[in-house]
């Protein structure tokens, strides 16, 4: 296992090198010059050129690329053009809100998605099954920004029980923190809950039809042992695979929710960076997101062997 993890980490480095090269190259190809955006309409060539020189944007592509990789070697993601601060600092400032949002959304997804999927499978073709699947389809289909706004109107304005937006750090107290997370986390989670419920149901239905499950029943094992131990542990493999992807998507795909709920997270940082062509932030943000994806998938792979001892990587 140790060798496997080491190998995967080495592969991760290659993936990150490729990701950073692609993100760096794409941003050079996208039209739009940050120096022109900063200088404003009608700015003279001198003004634009001065800004380009200030941020090294006037240098040849290969030079900029080499400087970017050189910085990465010492953990330097560069300096934001529009924020006048290191990219790593800008990302670190916004990471807590995004991590909290994705974490709570994942917890909700796991609790509700897996639970609903298992219940639907155990009550296959009943009205409960159909209701759960109908809600799952709704969750998959409904646009998250629309749902977010609906939640704001219902719970923020009409019922007045939750804040309409903003992020309260843990330092302001647990109650304020969790209240600020409920609506955005549910909005972010609903799509994934629907997906996970459907996958869990399909996996559980499949497992329940296996011979060993019939044997367990014939042995007279109580339901909680049969379902909780023999069935559920086998459902976990496909579910864990999806969870890795879901969490990655939540980390990287919260732009809309962060905007609707005025969350100071990485999603908004990236969206603003794209709109101002702040190359270092875009590149740094993509790299960090890619790293999170790769790391999560590695954890998922390691987790496989824990839940299914037959899986060995050595």
């Amino acid at each position: 296992m140790g060798r496997y993890i080491a190998h995967r980490l080495a592969t991760t480095v290659v993936v990150l090198v490729v990701v950073s090269f692609i993100s760096f190259s794409i941003m050079q190809l996208v039209p739009g010059d940050p120096a022109i955006i900063m200088a404003g309409l009608g700015a003279s060539g001198d003004q634009v050129q001065r800004i380009r020189e200030q941020f090294g944007l006037d240098q040849p592509f290969m030079f900029q690329l080499a400087r970017w990789y050189g910085g990465l070697l010492v953990g330097d993601l560069g300096e934001s053009i529009t924020l006048s601060r290191p990219v790593i600092q800008a990302l670190a400032e916004r990471a807590p809100a995004t991590l909290a949002l994705a974490g709570v959304a994942l917890a909700l997804t796991l609790a509700i998605g897996v639970g609903a999927g298992v219940i639907a499978a155990l009550r296959q073709n009943s009205w409960i099954d159909r209701l759960v699947m109908a809600i799952a389809v709704f969750g998959v289909s409904v646009p998250s920004f629309w749902l977010g706004l609906l939640f704001i109107i219902v719970f923020g304005v009409m019922l007045d029980v939750l804040p309409t937006g903003g992020y309260a750090p843990l330092a302001e107290g647990f109650t304020a923190w969790i209240k600020s997370l409920i609506l955005p986390a549910v909005s972010l989670a609903l799509l994934q809950i629907g997906l996970l419920a459907r996958i869990t149901r399909a996996a559980m239905v499949d497992v329940l039809q296996q011979d060993y499950m019939r044997t367990a029943r014939a042995k007279g094992l109580p339901d909680w042992v049969r379902i909780g131990k023999h069935a559920f542990i086998n459902v976990l493999v496909p579910v864990v695979t999806v969870i890795g992807i879901i969490f990655g998507l939540m980390l990287s795909g919260s732009v809309v929710i962060e905007t609707v709920f005025a969350f100071p997270g990485i999603g908004r940082l990236m969206a603003n960076a794209i709109l101002t062509r702040d190359y270092p932030v875009i590149q740094g943000g993509l790299l960090v997101t890619a790293f999170a994806f790769v790391l999560l998938n590695l954890l998922v792979d390691v987790f496989y062997s824990w839940i299914d001892p037959r899986i060995r990587y050595d």
């Binding site: 039209p31 003279s44 060539g45 704001i152 304005v157 609707v260």
Partner: protein, 514 residues
């Protein structure tokens, strides 16, 4: 120094617009919660200031001169200004006893150090290009010497587009975004969390301008009633409205017009319309066919129905105005008025026919900003009805701005002038003349000569005449098609009193919670 013209400033401050609040009793205390439509990337005292950034900066910082309600320069930290007859020396007498947030008393050394920092970091530092020396003959006098006449120097010094904020001298050596946010403003800095919020606290050591009778633009006599202000950055319009309706904020900026109609039925909420927030425009490329043909450009100008276009842009909060500055500005004039909002498709067709236009495609770049998209579609249809072969291309703002910086790939492009019509005529120079003018016009001697007169005369009336010629020429040659003056609707809780909408920023002084 020979002083032929001495501006005794105190009298200027008497024209303030402070009457409405006299009828209501102000209350001290509480925290005003504000929902802004966007935050800022930088709150450095000497960097660029858009409308939202000004809302964040002006509570903290003040300048020697600032702008009043109509954008005219008025004194703030300066008490008197004497300009030499040759226009090369500006002698400022400072107000005494003005305290910084750190308790230090402001002196000429702080002013000098601050202006020198501005000249290092500000995107508008070109304003200080004519400055040869900043002298401090005594602790309350600052003398600025210029190498050449710069009649707009005071306008530039007072301009809020990149404020000449006065900060303690020991802070002036700090790099960009590294100061401790210490100024002389009526609020002191609390905290700023980018993309989340900023807090401001009443500065009890504030030294108001006692020569004024009330607030005036960014200047005048400012009074803070609230203990604190919390500016929350709420980019999603519906979420802003929900925050106001639920009582989670007292004030929100930029309410969409459909929500305005709904909120008008709520007795607990009042709408505050800002008559002029920005100036939507379509600028034309003189360097690329077919808009290099002045006939084609004039046909575009003649075809447009500004009533319809501005209704689409603003949803109803707008005014038709041909001028490049807002009503009330001293440089407002009638130049080009006859060519604004002609709305005559038949005339446009005739001009086109005479111009020799053969139906060549006209590329119209439209930024993916909601009002620009609406304007883009409507303008395209109106021009097609007049016989112009317009090809609409939608793109994000950075792409549009970068393309417009060159001659190729566009004939028309959408934009909006935000600060220019507010701060005044001088700010249009780089848009209308020079190598990088918006219209990519070359060798327009009439325009160049008019700007030369504008920039070299110390006589205000002559400068106004020059500006009238500039505006007239911009219409005659169709540099930029002005669509109108677009406003913005704010909304406040009935609990928030004293608020007055202002084109410069959202101001939180002289407002209070009832």
């Amino acid at each position: 120094m020979m002083k032929l013209r001495k501006l005794l400033i105190a009298g200027l401050c008497l024209s303030v617009v402070s009457m409405p609040m006299l009828a209501e009793a102000q209350k001290k205390g509480g925290e005003i919660l504000v929902g802004m439509y966007v935050g800022a990337n930088s709150i450095d005292p000497h960097f660029s200031a858009s409308y939202p950034t000004r809302t964040m900066l002006y509570p903290l910082y003040e300048t020697l001169f600032t702008v009043g309600e109509t954008g005219t320069p008025i004194p703030m930290l300066a008490e008197e200004l004497a300009i030499s007859a040759d226009g090369l020396t500006y002698d400022f007498k400072l107000r005494q006893g003005v305290k910084f947030h750190n308790g230090k008393t402001m002196t000429a050394e702080d002013v000098k150090a601050s202006l020198e920092r501005y000249a290092r970091f500000s995107p508008d530092r070109i304003s200080f290009a004519p400055v040869t020396a900043i002298e401090t003959p005594d602790p309350y006098r600052v003398v600025i010497r210029l190498k050449e006449v710069s009649p707009s120097f005071l306008d530039r010094l007072a301009s809020p587009t990149s404020p000449t904020s006065i900060i303690p001298s020991e802070q002036a050596s700090r790099e960009l975004n590294k100061t401790d946010n210490i100024g002389t403003g009526p609020f002191r800095f609390g905290e700023w969390v980018p993309d989340s919020h900023m807090t401001l606290e009443r500065f009890d050591g504030y030294s108001p301008n006692m020569k004024a009778t009330g607030p005036d633009g960014f200047g005048g006599r400012k009074t803070v009633w609230a203990d604190r202000v919390r500016l929350r950055f709420l980019p999603e319009a519906s979420a802003r409205v929900a925050a106001l309706e639920s009582g989670q904020v007292h004030f929100i900026e930029d309410v969409p017009q459909p929500s305005v109609k709904r909120l008008q039925g709520n007795a607990k909420i009042a709408i505050e319309n800002l008559a002029a927030f920005q100036m939507p425009v379509v600028y034309l490329n003189h360097a690329l066919a077919p808009t290099n043909n002045v006939g084609v450009r004039r046909a575009i100008q003649a075809a447009l129905d500004m009533d319809e276009v501005m209704l689409a842009a603003s949803g109803g909060v707008h005014k038709l105005n041909h001028a490049w500055v807002y009503d009330g500005n001293a440089f407002h004039n009638d130049g080009g008025k006859a060519l604004y909002n002609i709305n005559d498709a038949a005339k446009a067709k005739q001009i086109l026919k005479d111009s020799g236009y053969k139906g060549e495609p006209i590329i119209f770049n439209v930024a993916s900003i909601a009002w620009m998209q609406r304007v883009g579609v409507l303008v395209t249809e109106q021009l097609k009805a007049a016989g112009l072969n317009v090809e609409l291309r939608s793109m994000d703002w950075p792409t549009l701005a970068s393309m417009a910086n060159g001659n190729a790939g566009w004939n028309m492009a959408t934009s909006g002038f935000g600060s220019q019509p507010f701060v005044g005529a001088w700010s249009y120079q780089r848009l209308f003349v020079g190598e990088f003018n918006l219209a990519r016009a070359v060798d327009d001697k009439v325009m160049e000569e008019a700007w030369s007169r504008f920039n070299n005369s110390l006589d205000v009336e002559k400068r106004k005449a020059a500006w009238r010629d500039i505006q007239t020429r911009s219409y005659d040659q169709v540099y930029v098609v002005k669509l109108g003056d677009m406003g913005m609707s704010h909304a406040r809780s009935a609990q928030l009193k004293g608020f007055r909408a202002y084109a410069g920023a959202t101001r939180l002084w002289d407002t209070w919670l009832d």
